[in-house]
Subunit: 217 residues, 4 copies
Amino acid sequence: MAPTDVKEAPATRNAAKSRQRILDAAESVFATKGLEGTRMAAIASLAGCNQALLYHYFAGKDELFTAVLEQTYAKIRAAEQKLDLTDLPPIAAMQKLVEFSFDYVRDNPSFIKLINDENMHGAEHLKASDDARRLNTPLVDTIAAILRAGVARGDFRVSVDPVQLYITIASLAYFFTSNRATLSVVFDLPDANTCFATRRTHIVEVVLGYLRATPAG
Amino acid sequence: MAPTDVKEAPATRNAAKSRQRILDAAESVFATKGLEGTRMAAIASLAGCNQALLYHYFAGKDELFTAVLEQTYAKIRAAEQKLDLTDLPPIAAMQKLVEFSFDYVRDNPSFIKLINDENMHGAEHLKASDDARRLNTPLVDTIAAILRAGVARGDFRVSVDPVQLYITIASLAYFFTSNRATLSVVFDLPDANTCFATRRTHIVEVVLGYLRATPAG
Amino acid sequence: MAPTDVKEAPATRNAAKSRQRILDAAESVFATKGLEGTRMAAIASLAGCNQALLYHYFAGKDELFTAVLEQTYAKIRAAEQKLDLTDLPPIAAMQKLVEFSFDYVRDNPSFIKLINDENMHGAEHLKASDDARRLNTPLVDTIAAILRAGVARGDFRVSVDPVQLYITIASLAYFFTSNRATLSVVFDLPDANTCFATRRTHIVEVVLGYLRATPAG
Amino acid sequence: MAPTDVKEAPATRNAAKSRQRILDAAESVFATKGLEGTRMAAIASLAGCNQALLYHYFAGKDELFTAVLEQTYAKIRAAEQKLDLTDLPPIAAMQKLVEFSFDYVRDNPSFIKLINDENMHGAEHLKASDDARRLNTPLVDTIAAILRAGVARGDFRVSVDPVQLYITIASLAYFFTSNRATLSVVFDLPDANTCFATRRTHIVEVVLGYLRATPAG
DNA sequence: CATGAATGAGGCTTCATTCAT
DNA sequence: TATGAATGAAGCCTCATTCAT
């Protein structure tokens, strides 16, 4: 997974663009090599600028990583905001939510890499970031609403804690992508596309199977 | 999370003991600091020996990490072997399995750290290790057997793929521990004990809820 | 010893003022941090201007240091010019001269710092400065005159070389201030005020004691 | 003043020798270039070893500088110890002491450079060094004894404070060497040998002239 | 078996300086 | 006149690793 080439234009004298190019380059390299494995030189090179310029915009490696994390969280929060689940019937809404979660990590592999790395470091960057803390996920509220609607219609079981369900969905959505490398060694997984499709179907089944109302009587 | 002190005895001239002390120190430091964050000096210091001695027993940092991984996988495989689920009724067996998986990662935090790190590196060490590949998990077979028994008794739904279920259980068991740092920043999680207990109950419910046979008719 | 705040007014578009503000800031920082220890950024910050502006007025760090040196020498030469010793009797004149020298370095600590620094660098900046070379000290002539008058009155010994005496006075005046830091570690010197007063009295005594005419016979 | 070549033997595997070679190289470079002007690479090169080896023996640049200072102070204290002034008549003893002080700094130019540098840095290294603090100069006691003897014989004036006199001797001994660079620009000093000889004679004259007993009556 | 000495490569960061506006 | 953007050249230090005993 080589970092994609972000260098588009020769160094412009445009602060916002330069900063963003550095940020994007950093995201790419951090996701590929990890926090410690990343070399500032690699970021500079990918951003098409001098290594010293990184320090013009960011205080250091950790602050740059923090900025990348903030951007990462902002992106997924934005994607979550765009999901429009309120108009769907509860079961369909829940299915869409699970699928979205799964697809997002599948399609944004940097996301998982960065979050994992941050977890390996005890979330110290996140803790230091006011930005990131503010970006609380809106999904828990959405889940709560869907659950209520589903219970009202008799589709869902009662007494499901939305936070627990959120974490369950995240678990199912993230783990496969996050651990595919070692899983592939232990099992002989088929090609990626088949894998993902099978898995996607399965986790929807798990969540909906769990949620379906117990037979009355 | 400071590495626990592995140094038990003053350096004795005993090959097997020295090697094991180094391996244990390495596990502790790798789990705490990650592969790149780990310093050979830190391992030597914790092992109570000279840095050069590490190279006496292991070819280098990566080989040492590989050896640690092998030991890690061997340990969980051994624990899995000890699980005796065959005599239990299917539902109880499945519950015990889920709980075992959850408890194992909760009680062996190094396990997750190491596996995650390895995943961040594309499982390159695992791929290079014949030992590790041989240690295929026996759990899939166990799961298959439990599923068959459960279906036979009318307790479980049909057509559940044991590999998918294994991954699902692993997802639910691992994710919470693995991502607790960032989750704590986003949500205001209560104290660790409460967290784990609530979560443990929930994931059992999810797995069993998913598996329970659909009401006939 | 933090640099004193030279920034008085918001950056005005006034060439002479900007140049002087930079020069004053530079003097302060150079005196505090030394030539190599000084950062152009620190000067700019203290001058309340952009770093690039420094290069608008001065060719570079060394030239700026040279300019500071020139200003420094100009200031002490001006102070020396104001001394009016010609009307005093020789002994009083000499005492006033010694005291002036001592007080000047005590009251202008930057002076010593800059001169010392320049000496550490082999006076290369001074050598490159026509300005500084022109500013030959008038004190040697003054000393010569006082010595002549003193000898004529029978107050002073004969055959004292005015240049040597000048250097001796400078030695006594400068050394204590210049080396106070290390002296304080070796001896347990009392508080600054007492120190200086005692020392001032002593060096006057030394110079006058040395100069007094030998008893006839 | 290029650093003298200390590299005598190819890198030996002898800790004490290596350490000393590094220390000597450091003294040379620090004295030539100053603390900030010194490059660790220059020291390593002069010591004939790898730059990393410096960090094997010394924690960093400042600690190395401190060690050099300690060695420097130890050397002059050793030289002072060897002075045997107690058997000389007071005037001769005092003359010898002044000459020794003057000669020492003339013959050990690093001494002055290092002390000056340390003073420019507020003696922070010295303060951090227990070694250096312990090495209090024995000269003050010697001076006190000489003064007492001189007064007893009627050679010296009374009530001279030995600490003040010590500082005065140091001033006269150090200043000329320490400030020769700038003095040379201001005055047109003759060749070094003549300079030093003239100055040496003069300062002896100053100290003895000051000390001689006032004519009775 | 075990160790302290030694090293080469490279990482993060700083800094004086120049460029373009 | 004044500025923020941009850069090349180091500098200090770290670290995995090898050597010699």
